[in-house]
Amino acid sequence: MTTTTTAILENRKKFSIAKLLLEGRAFLALVLIIVVFSLISPNYLTWSNVLIMTSHVAIYALLGLGMLLVILNGGIDLSVGSTLAFSAVVAGFMLKGVPLDLFGVTIYPSVPVTVLIACGVGALAGLVNGILVAKFKIAPFVATLGMLYAVRGFALLMTGGLTINNLSGREELGNTGFAWLGFNRIFGIPIGVLVMIVVALVLGAVLGRAKFGRWLYAAGGNERAAELSGVPVNRVKIWVYVVSGLCAAIAGLVLASTLTSADPNAGNTYELTAIATVVIGGAALTGGRGNVRGTLLGAFVIGFLSDGLVLVGVSAYWQMVFIGAVIVVAVMLNTLQYGRRRRPATGKAKSDKNVKTPAVTGTSTGTGSTES
């Protein structure tokens, strides 16, 4: 016992610099990106460009923060890109007026109502994901893959595949103000960025301080142990998908409002960007490790990198190559950070498992004595 602990403590001392570099890697990457691009282009680090880039970052970050919760739980949510588009389309549809054929009237919900309903739709998609995963024990990858298709289909069905344009509403109908989300600024900061900050603060507090956060980390670290410790693992699981859907809906609203149009094809492959932000932020895909700060940094890395590449005129195809490389390097570094520390624990877990898991013993634990 003492030998292992002293070894760990010594390692801690010896590699403190390396460890600092490793743990601050997302931050260092961001600093590197900013330095390199500002050297290449004088326009990169101007206040207005930073704000524009941060608005893009906000979309990635909103999706990423929802995804973070799911990944902390050891799951994955592939449906966020579609949910983003769907909630945007729902909002656009309502702003254009909801025809109630039965009564022969068209109602025009106000913007707050529209926003609430669009968010509700996102949360509902998440709820379905959560129930499929928690209650019906469908693998998260598969359940949310199904949702990816289904929700995108709904979005396309609602508009016949067309983009809903001009969402600014009309004064006489009392539904103006949607563009406020995308265009307005408070103290010079775009609303979308402020929304990101608020969501980050709320989720940061929930993860760091609330009981739910602790439950989530515990269930992601070892679900069976968490369950035996009284953690309501199914409830936690359903909630993370609901939050992820909700975050996707918020991102969809921000995006639609920025563009004042709702495109049913928006957010294609954004689920992958969201996963990338979480992974670059140092979270482990196996669950239980990761935090809001890291995911925000991940979103900034991706946003500032891709916008920088655009600004200096790198072709869109090369951008994909660069971002791909960043993601792979990030995962490699994650393995460096967690792989070594985790191995002894999981190794043992495996050995114990082999003794009891029905898959290996075949005919349950009872066989031993019945034969003897």
């Binding site: 003492t2 292992t4 050995s351 013993t361 075949g362 634990t365």
Partner: protein, 503 residues
């Protein structure tokens, strides 16, 4: 090869991990046709030594002599080429493949024009199994075999590459008594053929039954070695721990309270085979302050009984009452709230959150006590963690250390501490001594006695008779899902073993 020749020798082997010395100059020899058993507590250096002998790790200094010649193995494959095989505690078979495929995995017999020669592989496998007097068809899926049979398939695989030296790390930990006998039969057969065997086991009595030489390691040094004829259990334990140990006796000097737990006619079905009841009409009553030991073989239904009481396992019929109130409809969380805590059998799988620190593991089941308002108070949590570390005597430099940094015994104390933190009325412990060393065992049992004195009902299971005859006021023997006998603390080992269907 004649027997009793030194086939493998370790000379002054030192192994450093960073700044720590895991082995401090160990000398050690293995003779053909004999079993050499390595005894030692966890962390004494047994595994490190075995890893060096089998090529998993290289010594920092010192040398390995094979048949008198110095050798270095840079990998297990290289060691295997020299006839040294290790059979790990965890089975390394692929359960989805057949026995034949597993035995020839990685060295398939090829036909001249490509493709695997399954017929030849099957023939050789059958011959090998017959050699070991094992009636298993080569085409059987490994997942269809019992754990004991799987273990033997691993041995067969080692033998099929002509191993002269077999290292067995805890080979019986998952076996029923009858299977242990089969394994020992096979070991004796191998000895007759001149194979040298290195044996590691926490089951001291069992190891004594098969061994020829005993080597005891403590703190990375060899503290004693002797021939089987000259030693007994007490000798081993004395050399392992360095002092006389005692697992304790039933706590006395107080009256038991009212029954905390009463189980009536409880039946739990095997989820994989609903025809079979793993717990079959059990009645059990535990009073406040009473310690009950449930003894039984693997598969006797002990785990299922405890998990049913804790709310993990679905109950088919019967009644479970805590303080005279049924808890059958309650969730695990509600049962914890009411005072039922389970320390599961498999620490790594069910007990610990590996990504958490010691402190967070300790407070996980009783988070409500760390709250101030809606938030977890870091201060409260820290002080509670330190309090618990003291209460269950976890040896850790800080509550912030990752749980993986602790030894098995201390990890087990953390799992117990987590339950203690919930102020339980009833503590259920499934094999609390599994995989921890003698010293830690005694401490765990002392903790349980202490809880019982404070009026907690304690139920623990074990598959070592010696552990029943320590702190338990009452011993219940389970066999095939039923209670087959009940004893007081004055029972003898023979009585208990006979009732379990072992002797």
């Amino acid at each position: 090869m004649s027997t009793d020749q030194v086939v493998l020798e370790a000379r002054d082997v030192v192994k450093n991990y960073g700044g720590t010395r895991a082995l401090k100059g160990v000398n050690f020899e293995i003779r053909s046709g004999t079993v050499t058993t390595l005894f030692g507590e966890n962390g004494a250096g047994k595994s490190t030594l075995m890893k060096i002998l089998s090529g998993v790790e290289q010594p920092t200094s010192g040398e390995i002599l094979l048949g008198g010649e110095p050798v270095t193995f840079s990998s297990t494959t290289e060691a295997a080429e020299h006839g040294i095989s290790i059979i790990h505690q965890e089975l390394s078979l692929a359960p989805n493949l057949t026995v034949r495929d597993n035995i020839f995995m990685g060295r398939e017999i090829m036909r001249p024009f490509g493709g695997v020669d399954f017929a030849e592989e099957r023939r050789q496998t059958r011959a090998l199994l017959q050699d070991m007097k094992l009636a298993i068809e080569p085409d059987t899926l490994v997942s269809d075999l019992r754990v004991g049979q799987q273990q033997i398939i691993e041995i067969a695989r080692a033998l099929s590459v002509n191993s002269r030296i077999l290292i067995m790390d805890e080979p019986t930990s998952a076996l029923a008594a009858a299977e242990v006998e089969t394994l020992f039969g096979i070991i004796r057969e191998l000895l007759a053929r001149g194979v040298a065997i290195v044996y590691i086991s926490h089951h001291l009595e069992e190891a004594l039954e098969i061994t020829d030489h005993a080597v005891v390691l403590r703190d990375g040094s060899m503290t004693a070695r002797a021939e089987r004829a000259d030693i007994d259990l007490a000798w081993i334990v004395r050399n392992m721990v360095g002092e006389n140990f005692d697992l304790g006796s039933p706590p006395e000097g107080y009256e038991f309270g009212e029954p905390v737990l009463s189980v009536e006619d409880l039946t739990v079905l095997d989820p994989e085979n609903p025809e079979r009841a793993v717990v079959n009409g059990i009645d059990l009553e535990v009073r406040a302050g009473e310690i009950v030991c449930i003894y039984g073989l693997m598969g006797a239904g002990r785990t299922e009984l405890l998990e049913a009481i804790a709310g993990r396992e679905r109950v088919e019929s019967g009644q479970i009452r805590l303080d005279d109130q049924s808890i059958l409809g309650d969730s695990i969380a509600e049962r914890i709230e009411k005072g039922v805590g389970l320390v599961p059998e498999d620490r790594q799988r069910d007990g610990l959150v590996q990504t958490f620190s010691v402190g967070r593991n300790l407070t996980l089941a009783s988070l409500d006590k760390s709250m101030s308002g809606l938030a977890i108070s870091g201060k409260k949590e820290k002080s509670r963690a330190n309090e618990l570390i003291g209460a269950v005597t976890v040896k850790t430099p800080s509550s912030d250390l990752n749980i993986g940094g602790l030894s098995g015994g201390n990890q087990q104390k953390v799992v117990i501490g987590k339950i203690v933190a919930t102020d339980p009325r009833l503590m259920l412990l499934d094999e609390p001594s599994r995989g921890i060393d003698v010293g830690a065992k005694a401490e765990v049992f002392r903790l349980l006695s202490e809880r019982a004195r404070r009026g907690v009902g304690v139920v623990y299971t074990t598959s070592e008779v010696g552990e029943c005859l320590s702190i338990a006021h009452r011993i219940i023997v389970m066999s095939r899902g039923q209670v087959s006998a009940e004893f007081g603390p004055d029972a003898t080992k023979d009585m208990i073993m006979a009732a379990s269907g072992e002797a």
